[in-house]
Amino acid sequence: MSVNAKMAWRNIWRNPRRSILTISAIAFASLLLVFMLSFQFGFYEAAINASVKIHAGHLQIQAEGYQDKKSMRLVVPDPGSMGSILANIEAVKAYTYRANAFSLVSSEKRIHGVMVTGIDPVSEAKVSTLKNLIRDGTYLTDKDDYQALVGQLLAQNLRIGPGDELTLLGQARDGSVAATVVKVQGIYRSGLDELDRSSVHIPLKTFQEVYAMGNAVHQVVAIGESLSAIPEIRASLKSRLSSLNQNNPLKVLDWEELMPGLRQAIEMDLVSGLIFYVLLIIVVGFSILNTFLMAIFERTKEFGIMKAIGTTPVRLTKLLLIESLSITIVGIIAGIILGIGITYYFQIHGIDFSGSSDLLSQFGISGRMYPKITVLSILIGPSLVLGITFLAALYPALKVRRIRPVEALTHV
């Protein structure tokens, strides 16, 4: 240990009570930020995974413009070739095809306008959670043709249950009238009201027949091994698609583009969280500035003596910065360790939010939330604290250079 470091370390423990209080303040702020950020990140990932798995998937291939207009005519004409491309990309876990049409569905008593979606029952089960969401009746099999899955709220509104018949009436791709009768096989509940209120799923083959789609579909939906693999899959998909050189352009959309609301909600939550954290850190910063300043006022005489015996101002500044940085680093390390401990506990056991389940079901999350410790959530908060404390320490450390030995020595 250099002489400076030794002096600084001894100075810190000359007044243990003060140092411990300051370290506690820093540790408290770091701990809190580690926990809060881990909590937010855990929530985001849960929300993204839930939304991705319920419906949208990580990636979709669609005709240009389909995402905005949902027009029948904007199709992916040859889904088979898309499928073989996806099957060749290693990070793709599963993929499926879907086709959608707005139609009137009527039961004996009621009529509603809904989105009818054609799905391939087997591959759909690998991509989305639809199969596990069935609350009544059963999921489709690949032998089914004129059978349908209906959202729970819609079933309620139509007053139907498994076994009842529904009439679908819409417009086919070629402009003709598309009409058919299907039998309700299962009722699903996703928690997303929008989906549960206005969607009906039928087998893709049936859909293509009824709506004159030929072999075409509207969406090729894929999920990757993990969220972090998506950009890579997207890039390789894009390059292979462009090499196909088709006359009607296809587009690759990732979950952020498929659900812009979700991405922006996350951004907004992060930004508003940061505003709160920065304000907290400023308060902590002032607390610490307070302590550092006071410590220097108290030691005016000491600094006067040091200067009188030849200590350079640069060395004094250095000494003080080493003191405050050591305090900060001890505090931050203590905060990170405690923060990880507490967060880890909740990461295993979860936090009960069942009182707010109305709110969370909007994001497809049930009553428990699990924080998630990541490198970022551990480092962001403490580094903000480190930055602010350094600024708070700078002022007193520079101020000390202006002490004049003669005046300081008379100071009590």
Partner: protein, 406 residues
């Protein structure tokens, strides 16, 4: 005498006092300002939801809310209207609507919508549609073919003002009623989903199309003050026995209520967090001030001052510091809120996210008396509590020890 002594004591070392004050001021400021931001977000959400056809109180036929179909309409509105006239306080606005799910279509597109039949004049005073017209003109009460749609819907349907739009829905005979309307105007709403969901026609046109005669789906009431629960219970007393349902916005918007509850809890927890951050600074500085004055306290004790008096002395000083800090923090917070009260904080850049969370695009911070007093009380009471520690330390010095201390 204590007060005077304390006052002089805190200004004996103005530098230290300034430093403590700074910590308190920043703490109080951030507490009040953050609470005002949270409050602003919720008030914006409530206002927006109330204006989006909810109102403070709604009346329906029992069953309509869980199953909003034509059979569940109010078939004899006279009784309801008579009750309204008797009970509603002066200054109240109300509007009667027909509201059913339907399908809108043109040559290229079709989509599910909520068809709302309104009286343009009375509706304007109750919901957002009164001043939301962005293109074309408002519905005229005597124009049975006119329809007003949202900008987003116009876009989605690739159509424009003057073009035709066909509405379909079920009528009272269980048949499909369908009628062509001409788009006369468009409206803009806080949320895109609102623009896509609602289409407005005149109430008469809706009643005719659905063969409702005088029937209504709902009555929406906006009160001059926020005292909806009293009025609602009086309305319930009359209307409930006759098969009607009266609900306040809190019952109509359970999602919003859950959110408000969560925010309420969060506001208090966060205030406490800020206080703890600030408390470390206060304790530390007070403690140091006490140690600096060990000799003084020892001397006072040697002169016969009781320990309790010393505690009281130190606490009085802390109290004065807290009061000054709180007052200045309040002034700073009010200035900040005032500065933002005109322009607000614009979240347009994150509009889709705000919409997803049900928030408005611009947030205006609002100081509520409750939040304000809680923040100030918290700082005052807890501030004094934590200063007991240094005060007790000061009282414990024995004269001999203290006089020997350098």
């Amino acid at each position: 005498m204590y007060l005077q002594l304390a006052w002089r004591n805190i200004w004996r070392n103005p530098r230290r006092t300034t430093v403590i004050l700074l910590a308190i001021i920043i703490g109080v400021w951030s507490m009040i300002f953050e609470n005002a931001l949270m409050r602003g977000i919720t008030v914006g959400m409530i206002k927006n939801s109330i204006a989006t056809l909810t109102g403070h109180i709604q009346i329906h036929r029992r069953g309509y809310r869980s199953d909003p179909v034509i059979e569940n309409s109010i078939t004899e509105p006279e009784a309801v209207i008579a009750a309204l006239k008797r009970i509603l306080p002066p200054g109240t606005q109300w509007a009667a609507r027909v509201r059913v799910n339907g399908i809108a279509s043109n040559a290229r597109h079709s989509s599910g919508v909520t068809l709302v039949g309104i009286d343009p004049a009375s509706e304007a005073k109750v919901s957002f549609i009164g001043d939301a017209i962005a293109g074309g003109h408002q519905l005229q009460p005597d124009d049975p073919h006119a329809i007003v749609v949202g900008e987003a819907l116009l876009d989605k349907f690739e159509t424009k003002i003057g073009h035709k739009l066909v509405l379909m829905s079920q009528d009272t005979n269980q048949e499909i009623a369908s009628k062509a309307f001409r788009i006369v105007g468009t409206f803009k709403a806080e949320m895109q989903s609102t623009e896509k969901q609602f289409v407005f026609i005149t109430r008469k046109a809706a009643q005719q199309m659905l063969k409702l005669r005088q029937g209504l789906s709902e009555v929406s009431i906006v009160l001059p003050d926020q005292q909806e629960s009293g009025v609602a219970s009086r309305l319930k007393a009359i209307l409930s026995p006759n098969g009607y349902e009266v609900n306040t916005w809190k019952e109509l918007l359970p999602f919003l209520r859950a959110y408000l509850k969560l925010l309420d809890v969060f506001v208090y927890i966060w205030s406490l967090v800020i206080f703890i951050a600030m408390g470390f600074g206060i304790v530390n500085t007070t403690l140091m001030a006490v140690f600096e004055r060990i000799r003084e306290f020892g001397l006072m004790k040697a002169l016969g001052m009781k320990p309790w008096w010393i505690v009281r002395q130190v606490l009085t000083e802390s109290f004065l510091l807290l009061i000054i800090g709180i007052i200045m923090g309040n002034i700073l917070a009010f200035l900040t809120v005032l500065a933002l009260s005109d322009s607000g904080i614009d979240l347009s850049a994150l509009a889709a996210g705000a919409e997803f969370a049900g928030m408005t695009r611009v947030i205006y911070p609002i100081v509520s008396i409750k939040d304000w007093s809680i923040a100030n009380l918290l700082v005052m009471v807890l501030g004094l509590l934590i200063c007991i520690y240094p005060a007790a330390k000061a009282a414990k010095f024995t004269p001999i020890e203290a006089l020997a201390y350098t």
